[in-house]
């Protein structure tokens, strides 16, 4: 009966390996012996009914054998499940390890950039004494996270006040509260742009799905209108006309800024595309290029200005009720994008760790 006790501990995958080993080393030879004898017994035994007293002993042995066989099968199944669980656990560990390595690389990079001006060689290439500010970026990431949480909270408040059929004055205050909060975001971004405009304009601080729609460090103002307007019927003829004009104006402004940015990019390319055999001092060209990165700051500032003004002018065209509805829809949209992004990031990923067996 001793051989059955270890089987009860099979649920712990850590222990089951010891148990499995134990079974393999201890139990099997014994069972093998039992099965062979039982098989011999069976071949004689099966056609007959187990009523004769002389065959009672053989019957109990058969019962024992089938019990043992069943337990063996259960154990095999449990061990298999344990192995799968262990595999999943190891995969998780590997993914976390990769993430950790990536994070360490990024921190190292940020530190190096912060130490750049200490390197005498690099100062010849730098036109301005300002350094990339890794602390500024870290601060921004934390503040942005806080902003997102607060934005969600203010949108929930707006939704509650809206659904509670509050007075127009009250609703108007909460609408203004949400609009002011978007202004806070643009202020945050301006600080981050001063610290590292390339970081800001790349949108790495945004959830991955939002980055698909990135235009100069954020969402397109005309896209904001596209999100809000369909939620808003009925609109008066005058409102429709005003919204159409606003939409056109923001598109024209976006086009102009996009073309200006393209021109900046082209001139950067020209600065950096030097003749490899020429003897010019590349440091000078790099100093000019660095100044152009600073010009990027003004483009981001203009883009954020457009975003802010679009929201404000839109809210002026609409009634308080409509503006509330529009802002709720906007907040909900970005919240869903964020959720979509998390689902994407946490999707089961078996391509990184286990080698694919190609057919």
């Amino acid at each position: 009966m001793d051989i059955y006790e270890p089987l009860q501990q099979v649920s712990m995958w850590g222990d089951s390996f010891k148990v499995e080993g134990g079974l393999n080393s201890i139990a099997s030879p014994m069972l093998l012996v039992n099965t062979t004898t039982s098989m011999e017994n069976k071949s004689e035994y099966i056609p007959h009914e187990p009523s004769e007293p002389s065959e009672v002993n053989q019957e109990t042995t058969n019962k024992d054998v089938s019990k043992v066989l069943r337990r063996l099968a259960q154990n095999r199944e449990a061990a298999r499940k344990s192995r799968l669980r262990k595999k999943a656990y190891v995969q998780q560990l590997e993914t976390s390890r990769l993430k950790l390595m990536q994070l360490e690389l990024e921190i190292g990079r940020a530190r190096k950039q912060g130490m750049c001006t200490d390197n005498a060689l690099d100062t010849t290439f730098m036109g301005s004494p300002e350094t990339i500010n890794p602390v500024g970026i870290v601060a921004f990431e934390i503040e942005y996270g806080n902003w997102v949480d607060e934005n969600h909270r203010r949108n929930e408040e707006l939704r509650n006040v809206f659904q509670a059929n509050a007075s127009e004055v009250q609703l108007g205050q909460v609408v203004q509260n949400v609009l002011n909060h978007y202004t806070d975001l643009f202020r945050l971004k301006a600080e981050a742009a001063k610290a590292d405009v390339l970081y800001l304009i790349s949108g790495v601080w945004k959830p991955s799905v939002e980055r698909l729609f990135l235009w100069i460090g954020g969402a397109r103002p005309s896209q904001l209108l596209n999100l809000i307007v369909p939620q808003l019927d009925p609109l008066t003829e005058q409102q429709l006309a005003s919204i159409k004009k606003l939409h056109l104006s923001s598109q024209q402004a976006e086009d102009a800024l996009s073309q200006g940015l393209e021109k900046l990019q082209q001139s950067l390319v020209q600065d950096m595309a030097v003749d490899p055999f020429s003897a010019t001092n590349h440091g000078f060209q790099m100093a000019i290029a660095i100044r152009k990165f600073e010009a990027l700051e003004s483009f981001v500032s203009q883009a954020d200005h457009l975003r802010r003004e679009t929201l404000i002018y839109m809210s002026r065209i609409l009634s308080t009720h409509q503006a509330a509805r529009g802002l709720i829809a906007l907040g909900e949209y970005f919240h869903r994008l964020r959720t979509l992004g998390s689902r994407w990031t946490s999707r089961p990923c078996d391509s990184v760790i286990s080698p694919r067996i190609t057919p």
Partner: protein, 101 residues
Amino acid sequence: MEKVMRLASEKGVVIFTKSSCCLCYAVNILFQELGIRPMVHEIDQDPEGRDMEKALLRLGCTAPVPAVFIGGKLMGSTNEIMSLHLSGSLTQLLKPYQSRS
């Protein structure tokens, strides 16, 4: 200052820019999209450029370039022009100067 005011009145829509300024280029593109051919003065190519820059700031322009004048009056820099455009006022102001092409 006189030079700036003189140049600003030479045409309906006048923009003071710098040749390296891509934001100035963007503002120019916007005007062209609206059917305007502004007169562009690159102050970094002008021998009196420094003084002109100071004059523009003294007139109250938020940034020396681009500085936009409509009908001889200073409208402002990029920020102001973008706001005017979104509010619909810019198109109104530009009506007398739009080319009929």
